[in-house]
């Protein structure tokens, strides 16, 4: 087997050095009844060529985003990733390193995490950020739990426009805790229902902007109202590119900002791995209650600047049953991809990229809403908007796929039994004018 270096001669010599007759002697603690005689019933070893052939055949059964006019969003977005990003994350020293527990030989990982944390804080308009969570949905769930610890309250109000997967992930994490989550009606376009739900027992409100239908929300009035009652505001996002153009959560008064970083550097990957962004205000109460790893600056014995993992007394490996979260492994390599892509973009790149996304979506919305029977239901949006169709959107999407257009996410896929006529459509810088024309033509054809 190509990954196993020992020869039978090596094995024999090693067994002799250990002082046992056979490898079976080293498994003698396994109960008799659980010892297998032969091989488990699965195929035996294969060469690179054979494995590649089999899995390539499986991959070719999928239609990839690059093969079709593509407008699917709903929490994951197709963006162009510079070639430099994938090259750098495949450097052995990044790819095959562990969590930086020995900081003297992990400065590469630690400095990039410190830079990542700073970039996330800047982009979200917050003061500090952690070294990443699994994804946006779990970051959102952890933020709800953190808000409850900080405020010592146990009611959380989630706006109806928060991505249903984020709501479900939060409810799962809170299921057997004291925290009770209520969700406002997703039909209500503004934040009035969220505002009305805040009382003296509310730990936090969670608002996604742009929300799952694409609508943008001004958080300022809500923040004021929440803070007046002692509740925290958690701003969630699924499209981090929007922050290049839209006012940041921090500037709108949010206390915690969480969201999905997939759009920058990571790619679609059929849903994972992604990278959860988690940022908050610089308040001692907050930082001590943050989940996940934090890289911090310090000095070495010669007084030279260096970085370490810090404030680990929040974490499971030290605090065990009193930890702020059970998270251990996070999304290290995806956060590296994110920070490299963001470094390539810089201020000029991210703001321009965001503008291009918005303009593409505006052009598409104009085109599609001009079709008879199609109505644009989101009057504000960034790069994703919702259409009301004269036919069930799920059927329309299937019909479009049959003629080679990946035309968005039927809202009923996220809200089973509801919103059957709504189609959520995303456009990014990767779309061409030709894609828009093709989509319009195809949609006219299937309606």
């Amino acid at each position: 087997m190509r990954y196993l270096p020992h020869t039978d001669t090596d094995r024999k010599a090693m067994l002799e050095a250990i002082g046992v007759a056979s490898i079976d002697d080293l498994f003698q603690d396994v109960p008799e009844a659980a010892r297998l005689d032969g091989l488990i019933d699965l195929p035996t070893r294969q060469g690179e060529l054979q494995v590649e052939r089999a899995l390539s055949a499986m991959a070719s059964k999928n239609i990839s985003a690059g093969q079709a006019p593509f407008f699917v969003g709903g929490g994951a977005y197709k963006h162009h990733i510079p070639a430099t990003v994938d090259h750098l994350i495949q450097r052995s020293e990044f790819l095959t390193a562990y969590t930086p527990y020995q900081p003297e030989i992990s400065q590469g990982t630690l400095q990039t995490l410190f830079e990542f944390q700073t970039q996330v804080a800047l982009l979200t308009g917050m003061d500090v950020a952690n070294a990443s969570m699994y994804d946006g949905s779990t970051a959102c769930a952890e933020a709800v739990m953190m808000a409850a610890r900080v405020t010592r309250r146990n009611k959380a109000v989630m706006a109806g426009g928060v991505h249903p997967h984020y709501v479900e992930a939060s409810k799962t994490l809170a299921k057997y805790s004291d925290v009770k989550i209520s969700v406002t009606d997703p039909d209500v376009a503004d934040l009035s229902a969220v505002m009305a739900a805040i009382d003296e027992e509310t730990a936090c409100v969670v608002v996604q902007t742009p929300d799952v239908f694409g609508r943008l929300h001004d958080l300022r009035a809500l923040s004021e109202a929440a803070h007046e009652k002692g509740a925290l505001v958690i701003a969630a996002f699924t499209e981090c590119v929007s922050l290049g153009l839209v006012e940041s959560p921090g500037a709108m008064g949010a206390d915690i900002a969480v969201g999905e970083g997939q759009s920058i550097g990571v790619g679609l990957n059929f849903g994972g791995p992604y990278v959860g962004l988690f940022a908050c205000k610089d308040d001692r109460r907050f930082i001590r209650q943050m989940p996940g790893r934090l890289a911090g600056e310090t000095v070495d014995a010669d007084g030279r600047r260096g970085y370490v993992l810090t404030l680990s007394t929040r974490e499971q490996h030290i605090r065990r049953d009193k930890a702020t979260s059970n998270i251990c492994t996070n999304s290290g390599l995806c956060s590296l991809a994110w920070t490299i892509h963001m470094t390539l973009l810089g201020e000029r790149g991210i703001t321009r990229l965001a503008r291009l996304n918005h303009e593409m979506a505006c052009a598409l919305a104009d085109r599609l809403s001009a079709i008879e029977g199609v109505e644009l239901v989101t009057d504000t949006f960034f790069n994703e908007f919702t259409l009301r169709l004269p036919r069930p959107a799920a059927q329309v999407v299937d019909d479009l796929a049959r003629i080679g257009v990946l035309g968005g996410v039927p809202a009923s896929r996220l809200y089973p039994g509801k919103f059957e006529d709504l189609l959520i459509v995303a456009a990014t810088e990767t779309n061409t004018d030709g894609d828009l024309v093709a989509f319009e033509k195809a949609l006219r054809g299937v309606l």
Partner: protein
């Protein structure tokens, strides 16, 4: 001297002579080049991506346009490349040498896995595409599930957990859901051995349980008398790692499973150490009800400096109905994804995260499994155990094994051999850095004083192990012969000297700020 709660020093003792380099003008030392932060190198004008000019169409942002700058520096592509390549050279990695972190399974990461994961048919596919356009992706998930269930002899698997700890959460949520469904709402106590990973108690609490610690016996395994004494009708289950974190197989595991079942509880097995038994022992034959599998350990998906991981969780018949959504099922010749509880056959406890799990890790793990096959995977376990025992046998004369007898895939030593030398486990570990090795896991498990847990994995050659053992032997001899200075000053050949963790925690600097450099210089 600062200490954390594990008893590990977090700052250097005073008055240690670290030797020290003559300072260079640039701060670089030959190939070890000093590299400032991007915030000190770049500025708001630089950009490493060419994007077309926006058309200037009217915005539909409802007046929510960003006011003011973000403050993100950019770098041109060559500068970006150098920044990250220079930083990468300050990292240790599996591809550079033995990485013997116990409990972490730092094995070779085959590049075929990377190639397959990057096929556009897997990498450039959206999780919410219509089912007709992603049949190959569903099939891959189905195939991975088949391999995992067969290797463990378990009837169900939830693929969506995103890492080991997330898998623990999945398994314990299923247990909680099952207990509640059966009206066993008084069962809230979970037994957790003292030697467990910290994630175990943290997870149990996250599921609304309370933890009750079980001590280890003098062989490093569960103290059976103490375990039996803790059984009662408020017990929800046990979370047990097997092989355990001392690198030992729990000989009484079947009895433990039988007793916990007889007491009305469930058996959660932490599968972090599955690499020791894969292909040779099936957890389903041991009475396990739930077990997560770290694809980033046993199945070689890269650790990436701390993730992403993936923690599929196998479930017994008793728990299968409570598995979370989503999951794939085959309906005739067509695969479909069950995404909502209302469509599920059982009673899912919920959804753990957005979308369907760590697909990028699934492709890598399946590539690895198919490459090895059932014969290769059995060999993986055998060589992993052989390598650890070889290290144990060769070092037991100079270092002090924590327990008697052979081990499984990792060898555990305590710090008795360093008694009266003035050298701690931490100092010993830092001296290994100077010798070109990543240290072993230190100060874990907590049941052993000054623990050193060495897991070589199966991908190390005999020659490589011999060189490693020779170095550790020489270091142990040096410590015993009074050469404590080189240990206390270590590392001196790493990109930095020993770093002050106490200062980092007491005066947290968690991000760059325009004036933070000057503030540090002024101290």
């Amino acid at each position: 001297m600062g200490m954390n709660t594990q008893g590990r020093p977090t700052r250097m003792a005073e008055n240690i002579q670290t030797g020290g380099y003559a300072d260079t003008v640039s701060g670089s030392r030959g190939l070890d080049q000093a590299e400032p932060l991007i915030f000190e190198r770049g500025n708001l004008e630089h950009c490493g991506v060419d994007l077309p000019e926006p058309r200037g169409t009217a915005s539909r942002l409802g007046g929510l346009e960003r006011q003011g700058q973000i403050g993100l520096p950019g770098l041109a592509e060559p500068e970006t490349m150098r920044h990250y390549v220079r930083l990468s050279r300050k990292n240790y990695a599996i591809d550079l040498g033995l990485y013997p972190l116990g409990s972490c399974t730092m094995k070779h990461n085959p590049r075929l896995n990377e190639k397959i994961a990057r096929l556009p048919g897997f990498a450039d596919v959206h999780p919410l595409q219509p089912a007709s356009t992603v049949q190959g992706a569903y099939e891959l998930m189905g195939e991975l599930a088949h391999w995992l269930m067969t290797l463990t002899n378990m009837p169900a698997v939830a693929l969506s957990p995103k890492a080991g700890a997330h898998g623990e959460f999945c398994g314990m949520m299923a247990i909680r859901a099952k207990l509640d469904a059966d009206g066993q709402t008084h069962r809230r106590r979970v037994l957790v051995p003292e030697s467990a990973h910290g994630t175990n108690p943290a997870t149990a609490v996250q599921c609304g349980f309370v933890c009750d610690e079980i001590p280890a016996d003098k062989t490093g395994r569960v103290d059976m008398e103490a375990f039996k004494a803790k059984l009662g009708d408020d017990v929800a289950g046990i979370m047990l790692t097997n092989p355990n974190t001392c690198g030992l197989f729990e000989r009484d595991i079947r009895e433990i499973a039988d007793l916990i079942h007889a007491a009305g509880g469930y058996f959660y097995c932490d599968g972090a150490n599955f690499n020791a038994i894969v292909g040779r022992v099936r957890p389903g034959d041991l009475g396990v009800d739930a077990m997560h599998i770290n694809l980033h350990k046993t199945f070689s998906t890269p650790h990436g400096g701390g993730g992403p991981g993936s923690g599929p969780t196998v479930l017994s018949d008793a728990l299968a109905a409570f598995a979370p959504v989503p999951y794939v099922v085959k309906d005739g010749e067509t695969w479909k994804m069950v995404e909502h509880a209302a469509e599920a056959e059982g009673e899912p406890f919920g959804r753990m995260a957005a979308f369907h799990g760590q697909m990028g890790m699934f492709t890598r793990a399946l590539t690895y499994m198919m490459s090895h096959g059932s014969d290769g995977l059995k060999r993986v376990a055998e060589d992993a155990v052989l390598n650890a025992n070889y290290i144990l046998a060769r070092l037991k004369h100079v270092m002090t094994p924590a327990f008697e007898g052979s081990c499984m895939h990792e060898a555990l030593f305590d710090d008795r051999f360093l008694k009266d030398t003035g050298v701690s486990t931490l100092d010993f570990a830092k001296a290994m850095i100077d010798e070109g090795y990543h240290p072993m896991t230190m100060y874990f498990p907590l049941v052993v004083h000054g623990a050193m847990l060495i897991e070589p994995t199966e991908t190390e050659s005999k020659g490589g192990l011999d060189r490693f053992v020779d170095v550790l032997e020489a270091l142990a001899m040096a410590a015993k012969s009074g050469e404590s200075e080189r240990f206390l000053a270590a590392p001196v050949h790493a990109p930095t000297k020993r770093l002050d963790e106490t200062r980092a925690a007491r005066q947290p600097v968690l991000r760059w700020a325009p004036d933070s450099g000057e503030a540090a210089a002024a101290e």
